[in-house]
C-alpha cells in the first residue's frame, strides 16, 4: 500500500519533480514585503514540539529583538532559517522569492543570511585576519580558492572591519588565543565582511563587560537600516538599550510582539517570565 502511495506522491500531476525544476535564483526581492517571512512552521524532536505554528515577519532594515525563556525555540528558529534544521511543515521565505526550505546552508549564506552562533565559533587555528578573509563575501568555489588572492578592495574591507570590531592590534593573533568577548566581536566581524542582507545574532553580549556591551549595542543599531538584524538575547538591559520591536517566544510560538514597554506590561509575558 505504502509503495503505491509513494508512487502517487512522486507522480502527482500538479507538481514537477524537484530535480527538473530550475535552480532558484538567489536574488533578494524585498520590494513587496518583509525580508524574512515564516508561516505556520512546526518542528518536533522526538515528539517534543520545539516550534509550534510559528509566524514571524521581519521587515527590511528592521532591528528586531527576540526574547524568551530557555527552550522557547529561539535557536531552533535560527536553525530553520539558516537551513540546518528542516521543519516538519510550514513555509520560510527570504524576501518574496527565495524559498529557504529548498536551500542548503551554503546557499542560504550566499543568498545573504549571516549567522552568529550562541557559543562563539571562530576558526581557532587561523589568525584574526584570516578568519575575516575566509568569511568574506565572494566566489567560494573550490578551484577558485586554489589561486584566490585578496584584492586591494578586500584588504581594505578587512582593515576597516578590524577597526570596527576593535581588533586591529590582534590581526595576526591566532583567534583561539582571543578572550571570550573578543571572539564574540570577531564573529560579528565575520558577519560584517560576509555582507549579508539579514543578520541573525544569537546572544551577542554573553561574556562581555558593560563597556563592550555598549559598543556592541552601538554597532548593532548602526547596522540596522542598511541591513536587517535579528538579535536573540537574554540580557534584558541590553535588549532595552537597542530594541525597537521585541518578539517574545514561548513554547515554540509567538507570545507577544510590540515595543519593549508594551511587551513588559503584557500580563501573559509577565506570567511566563515571572513564573507560575
Amino acid at each position: 500500500m505504502s509503495v503505491l502511495e509513494n508512487v502517487r506522491t512522486t507522480m502527482r500531476r500538479d507538481q514537477t519533480w524537484s530535480i527538473v525544476t530550475p535552480k532558484q535564483k538567489l536574488e533578494l526581492n524585498v520590494t513587496t514585503g518583509p525580508i524574512l517571512y515564516l508561516e505556520d512552521v512546526n518542528v518536533s524532536f522526538d515528539g517534543f514540539k520545539a516550534i509550534n505554528n510559528l509566524n514571524l515577519a521581519i521587515d527590511a532594515g528592521e532591528l528586531r529583538c527576540i526574547i524568551g525563556p530557555n527552550g522557547a525555540g529561539k535557536t531552533t528558529m535560527m536553525d530553520i532559517i539558516t537551513g540546518k534544521t528542516q521543519p516538519d511543515s510550514g513555509r520560510a521565505y527570504f524576501g518574496s522569492d527565495i524559498d529557504l526550505l529548498r536551500l542548503s546552508e551554503p546557499e542560504i549564506a550566499t543568498a545573504g543570511i549571516g549567522r552568529k552562533f550562541q557559543k562563539p565559533t571562530v576558526f581557532e587555528t587561523h589568525t584574526v585576519a584570516e578568519n575575516l578573509e575566509l568569511a568574506m563575501h565572494g566566489n567560494k568555489q573550490v578551484w577558485y580558492s586554489l589561486t584566490a588572492k585578496l584584492s586591494g578592495e578586500q584588504q581594505d574591507l578587512i582593515d576597516e572591519t578590524l577597526h570596527t570590531i576593535g581588533l586591529v592590534e590582534h590581526y595576526g593573533k591566532t583567534s583561539g588565543a582571543l578572550s571570550h568577548g573578543q571572539k564574540q566581536w570577531l564573529e560579528i566581524g565575520m558577519l560584517l565582511v560576509q555582507k549579508p542582507h539579514l543578520l541573525l545574532v544569537d546572544e551577542p553580549v554573553a561574556g562581555m563587560t558593560h563597556q563592550e556591551m555598549d559598543r556592541t549595542a552601538e554597532l548593532l543599531t548602526s547596522l540596522a537600516g542598511k541591513h536587517s538584524v535579528v538579535v536573540v538575547e537574554h540580557d534584558m538591559d541590553f535588549v532595552r538599550s537597542i530594541a525597537r520591536r521585541v518578539t517574545v517566544l514561548h513554547q515554540g510560538s509567538v507570545l507577544a510582539e510590540g515595543s519593549m514597554d508594551d511587551v513588559q506590561n503584557n500580563p501573559k509575558v509577565v506570567e511566563v517570565y515571572l513564573g507560575e
Binding site: T110, T121, T125, S145, L150, G172
Partner: protein
C-alpha cells in the same frame, strides 16, 4: 609563483627538500663510482630500498593532507596506493611480452595458466606507457571521487567514515584475491622484465626509479604545500576545526572534501606506481587494512599537519621496520604498537612537534604574532 614563494616560512620543508636533494645526488654517485668493497659504497639493493621508502613517504604526505589538514582519518589510503600499483603492474606485465614462462606474446602467464584465450577488456591499452600512467592517476582518483561524493554528501564523518574507508580497502582486498577478477588473484602481478625498454634488473634503471621517486616526492610535497598555503588550504583547515561554521559562511564543504580527498588519492596512486617496479611485485596483500593503519601511524609519529613530518615518520618507521624485522622478526608489531602509544601519549604532535617545541624555546616573542599571510597576499 615560484617554488621559493611556496616554501617561504616552511623551514622544515626546506630542510627536508635539501636533504632529499643531497641524498638523490649522493646515492647514485656513491653507488656508481665506488668499488663494491669500499666502506662508502651503497649497494644497489640499498638504492632500491631507499626508493621504496621515498614512495612510502609520498603516500604519507597524501595521508597527512587529508588527515592533518582536512581532519578526515582515512584508514583506506592503502587502497589508492595499491590501485596505482596495479595499474603500473599491468603495464609491466604487458611489457614482458613473449618472455613469460608460457611464451604467449598477448597474455600474461597467469591468464594462460587459467586457460583464458583472450585479454580481458580492462587490460586493453596497458601496453602503452602513457595510458598506464593516466590510469595510475585516474583509477584511484575516480574511486576516491565517487566514494567521497557519496560519503561527504551524506555528511558521514568521524569514526564512521574511518570504518567505511577501512571496509573499502578490505572489500578490494577480497575482490583482488579472486582469480576471476583478472588481476592475477592471490599471486598478484610479478616477474616483471623491463620498463620503457630498460631492464628492471639493471643498476641504471634502479637508480632511475630511485631518482623518479625522489622527484615525485619533492613535487608532491610542493604541490601539497601550495594547496595548504592557498586560500583553499585555509578553508580546508577551517572545515577541520569548525565544519558547520564553514557551511554557514557559505562554503560547500562536501565539494572541498571531495577535492582534497581525490587529490590525495591521486598522489597515493602515483606513489604506488613508483613502488611496484622497485619491489617487483604487487599482490592483494597491499590492500590489507593493516597497511592502511600502519601508514596512519607513520604520519602520527612524524607529526600531522606538517607534511614534512609525514615524510620523516614514513622513512624512520620503515627504516626501523627493515632493521628490526631483520633482528627480531616477531617483535616488530609490538614495537610499532608501543611506539604509537608512546607518541600519542607523550608527543601528540609527533617528531615534528618536538622540533617546534625546541624552536619555541629560543628567545622569540610569540606574543607579537607573525604577520598574517593574508596581508602579504593583499599587498600584491
Amino acid at each position: 609563483m615560484t617554488i621559493a614563494d611556496i616554501l617561504k616560512g616552511d623551514r622544515g620543508g626546506k630542510t627536508m627538500l635539501l636533504v632529499l636533494l643531497i641524498v638523490t645526488i649522493a646515492v647514485p654517485v656513491l653507488n656508481q663510482t665506488l668499488p663494491a668493497g669500499h666502506p662508502w659504497h651503497i649497494p644497489t639493493y640499498m638504492v632500491t630500498l631507499l626508493g621504496k621508502y621515498l614512495t612510502y613517504a609520498l603516500l604519507a604526505v597524501a595521508v597527512d593532507l587529508v588527515w592533518g589538514y582536512l581532519g578526515i582519518l582515512s584508514l583506506g589510503h592503502g587502497a589508492f596506493f595499491a590501485l596505482g600499483g596495479y595499474a603500473m603492474g599491468m603495464y609491466l606485465m604487458r611489457q614482458i611480452g613473449d618472455r613469460g614462462v608460457y611464451g604467449n606474446a598477448e597474455l600474461p602467464d597467469f591468464m594462460v595458466f587459467l586457460n583464458w584465450t583472450e585479454l580481458p577488456w580492462f587490460w586493453y591499452g596497458f601496453d602503452m606507457f602513457w595510458f598506464a600512467m593516466l590510469m595510475v592517476m585516474l583509477v584511484p582518483g575516480l574511486l576516491a571521487f565517487i566514494f567521497g561524493w557519496l560519503a561527504f554528501r551524506s555528511r558521514v564523518t568521524g569514526v564512521y567514515l574511518s570504518i567505511m574507508t577501512q571496509a573499502l580497502t578490505y572489500a578490494l582486498l577480497l575482490a583482488f584475491f579472486r582469480n576471476e577478477m583478472g588481476f592475477g588473484g592471490n599471486n598478484g602481478l610479478t616477474d616483471f622484465k623491463d620498463i620503457l625498454g630498460f631492464s628492471l634488473q639493471a643498476d641504471a634503471t634502479r637508480i632511475g626509479l630511485f631518482v623518479a621517486s625522489a622527484v615525485a616526492l619533492a613535487a608532491g610535497y610542493i604541490a601539497c604545500r601550495y594547496i595548504v598555503n592557498s586560500k583553499l588550504g585555509r578553508i580546508t583547515v577551517a572545515i577541520r576545526d569548525a565544519e558547520s561554521r564553514t557551511r554557514f559562511v557559505g562554503y560547500r564543504v562536501e565539494h572541498y572534501k571531495v577535492w582534497i580527498f581525490t587529490f590525495s588519492a591521486v598522489l597515493a596512486g602515483i606513489a604506488g606506481a613508483l613502488y611496484v617496479p622497485q619491489v617487483g611485485i604487487i599482490n592483494p596483500g597491499e590492500f590489507s587494512p593493516i597497511n592502511s593503519i600502519e601508514l596512519v601511524i607513520w604520519v602520527a609519529i612524524g607529526g600531522r599537519a606538517t607534511l614534512y613530518g609525514a615524510i620523516l615518520g614514513a622513512i624512520l618507521v620503515n627504516y626501523g621496520k627493515t632493521v628490526f624485522t631483520g633482528l627480531m622478526p616477531d617483535s616488530w608489531l609490538f614495537m610499532l604498537g608501543a611506539l604509537f602509544v608512546l607518541v600519542t601519549l607523550y608527543l601528540p604532535q609527533g617528531i615534528a612537534g618536538l622540533f617546534r617545541h625546541f624552536k619555541r624555546k629560543q628567545p622569540t616573542d610569540p606574543a607579537d604574532g607573525n604577520p598574517a599571510p593574508v596581508t602579504e597576499g593583499g599587498a600584491a
